[in-house]
Subunit: 478 residues, 2 copies
Amino acid sequence: MFKTFISIAALVLFCLGNALADDYFSDQFIEKVSALRDQALLDTTAYDITESLTTEVGARLGGSENDAKAVAWAVAKFKELGFDKVYTEPVTFPRWVRGVETAEILSPYPHHIKITALGGSLATPKKGLKGEIIHFATIEDLEDADPTLIKGKITFISNRMQRAKNGSGYGKANGARYKAAFVTAQKGGIGAIIRSIGTDNNRDPHTGGMKSYDRNAETGEIRLYKKGEIVPAGAISNPDADLLVNMLKRNKPIIFKYTLGSHWDGQYTSQNVIGEITGREKPHEVVIIGGHLDSWDLGTGAIDDASGCAITMASAKLIKDSGIQPYRTIRVVLWANEEYGLSGARAYAKAHANKLEQHIIGAESDFGAAPIYAIASNVSDESLPIIAKMAELLAPLGIGYAGNNGRSGADISPLKKMGMATMGLYQDGSNYFDLHHTPDDTMDKIVAEEIAQNVAAWVVFVSLAAEYTGDFGFKLNK
Amino acid sequence: MFKTFISIAALVLFCLGNALADDYFSDQFIEKVSALRDQALLDTTAYDITESLTTEVGARLGGSENDAKAVAWAVAKFKELGFDKVYTEPVTFPRWVRGVETAEILSPYPHHIKITALGGSLATPKKGLKGEIIHFATIEDLEDADPTLIKGKITFISNRMQRAKNGSGYGKANGARYKAAFVTAQKGGIGAIIRSIGTDNNRDPHTGGMKSYDRNAETGEIRLYKKGEIVPAGAISNPDADLLVNMLKRNKPIIFKYTLGSHWDGQYTSQNVIGEITGREKPHEVVIIGGHLDSWDLGTGAIDDASGCAITMASAKLIKDSGIQPYRTIRVVLWANEEYGLSGARAYAKAHANKLEQHIIGAESDFGAAPIYAIASNVSDESLPIIAKMAELLAPLGIGYAGNNGRSGADISPLKKMGMATMGLYQDGSNYFDLHHTPDDTMDKIVAEEIAQNVAAWVVFVSLAAEYTGDFGFKLNK
């Protein structure tokens, strides 16, 4: 079904504009890009960058000690890679700290359970929170439930995320993670646990952000929720969720106890770290790419998102090293604290609000390091011939075109909302949610050939996008 | 290669004795067994038993609170299943307790590391053990190393276990786990960490027993090693071992710190739990089968070895329920504390030393719940026609014959050494060491159709073995 969609979109695209694109790029340039694409398939720069960040820094939760280490690492790495300009921009956000995490089933059958706090959760009492489990299959069931059933209890949502190449199972399951603590509190519950939003059967739960504050729509100011507005919330692994579901079939009350030390701890100022390859004609106009520098604290953030940082850094470096100096600047932004606030992306959009039109097109790599199988644009019809030329050069990598209504990364979304054109380079996410937000997100999961394929694709997108002298339709999404 | 071996062995076997076997069993009996085999493929008894033990008891380390719960569960389950006779026999052993487990790399690049104590390890100082890492690729390299290199350091062995259907990678890699603490102490080292003996890339390390005591060959008495004879020893996960190996390439000293609270804690008396289907002619002569009731404490012991208990219990129950009352007794033994002492097996062999000849043949199921692909015997030539008949009935299940020099389970080994004939029912172990001795050994890993295939195979072996009026060659191995 999806494949058919790609084929039709690709056909329309090629009919629309392929001949036109040849007006924009010299044969020599296209040959150079093609050669660079093929060279990138054998290049280890992105693999090496990922290994460097995960080994020399490791876990780097926004606001943690390693946040600052990651910023220092990124500045040094951009310089080492030969970027023309390297700088940082401040990003301030409320710091969240994890703390102790324990859980157990007390009765009818005692078991130790692995739990991890959801990002933004408040602490339980120090001696733990104890209560009877009330089970819901989905967040919608919890939302529909009579509060008298929930009062004084610990809710448990057991919905299981489904595996899909495009990661579509995530959005369907993720409401449980995002809303359980809030909805439970509204209905008088005392705690919330969820089945991890993940596709694996490993015993380590998946963390991830939850609704834990209000943001003032005008000022952007954050008001953190207090006890009572949300309950302490944690995720348990798929195997432990299965255990609970099996135990519930026995129709005996299940008493669960857990302790979370997670809490907010003042303000922290991190940095977006930015490296640029300066454009030859319009240095102030940029193609903005990147990944997020922060990670969750459980793994070393290899697939989320050292690899995205590495893929985009490597693609810009390879372009520069090949002798291409494009028409416009390539700006690689390594975003701060994506994971529990999108803080870097919001700060950037705010700081650059008066020069948004200089952002010609944007894209983020934030879905691991498995091969790219499609691109999808979000550009003006007039610029579709450029996209067609990209698609033509990407076809040898097994990459199709998925239409002009594409997704792009979370850190790109504030700029996209403000009108910037975007590109999505879709990675095969079949196994991504086995590892996402868990201790298993480590360097050994990166396959050298696969991450190199990503760089090859980004080299094509970035070099053509930065060389194109027209624009991709700013205010397209306004 | 292995397949060829099976084929030749099977050919020889069938030529040897197929016609002869027909003298031993009536057509009616063989038809009944065949029907029971096919019925077993659809039966959920073993799956349900595994679910019951892992849900209602869970982790059950020898000597822990759950050890006693597992014994009570097993007695009740045997009775519920309708066994003719249910009893227990005491098994006393030194109790080992795990305690706290933390680890970190302090420099050059700080990381939290997951560690788990090896069974039998002593504790570190309460504030942890800190030292420089010295790396060896294998236990042999450590054994060959100059002690002056090791003095005052923490040894790290990085050998990685290879995946294989028959689990042959385990024996090759496992020397590191068994001997590292002992060899390190002999050479003046202060601590030992090893790469987990496992084939997965999950972040949870694999525990498992290590050399931690001497056993008096005559009396069987145990003398536990003291501090200085062994060092505190733990396993780290494959991803963390990869991280250390990557870090070592940077040629900077690595300072590692870990804390283990593991220690010996007096004596404990558990029980072998035994259920019998009484033989019609020779009730005191037995076919002895079973699995071990204990498990490591990290998972719920689904594949190691709730499934082995369940497969053998279910096969005996199905035989009884079918109306077959065999010539000899079927004795199912759920062994105590296999994991860090083989305590139940040793106690049984000692307690039954004066009636060993009553044990006609023995087998254990202790390699998970994946399908059986071959059987291998260890019997007299005279009884090979019986094995041939078993193989004939097992062929429709995709099971071949792997010769008359077969492996059998660890709990069977003391009886085997004393001369008992044995049978091995070989399970596909390709994925077994992804889970073995980790928190991931949980019920969700059991596939209903696969565990039923095991029961179908055991039904054939057990019913023919117990009906056969000859013997399988006692003292064969003496």
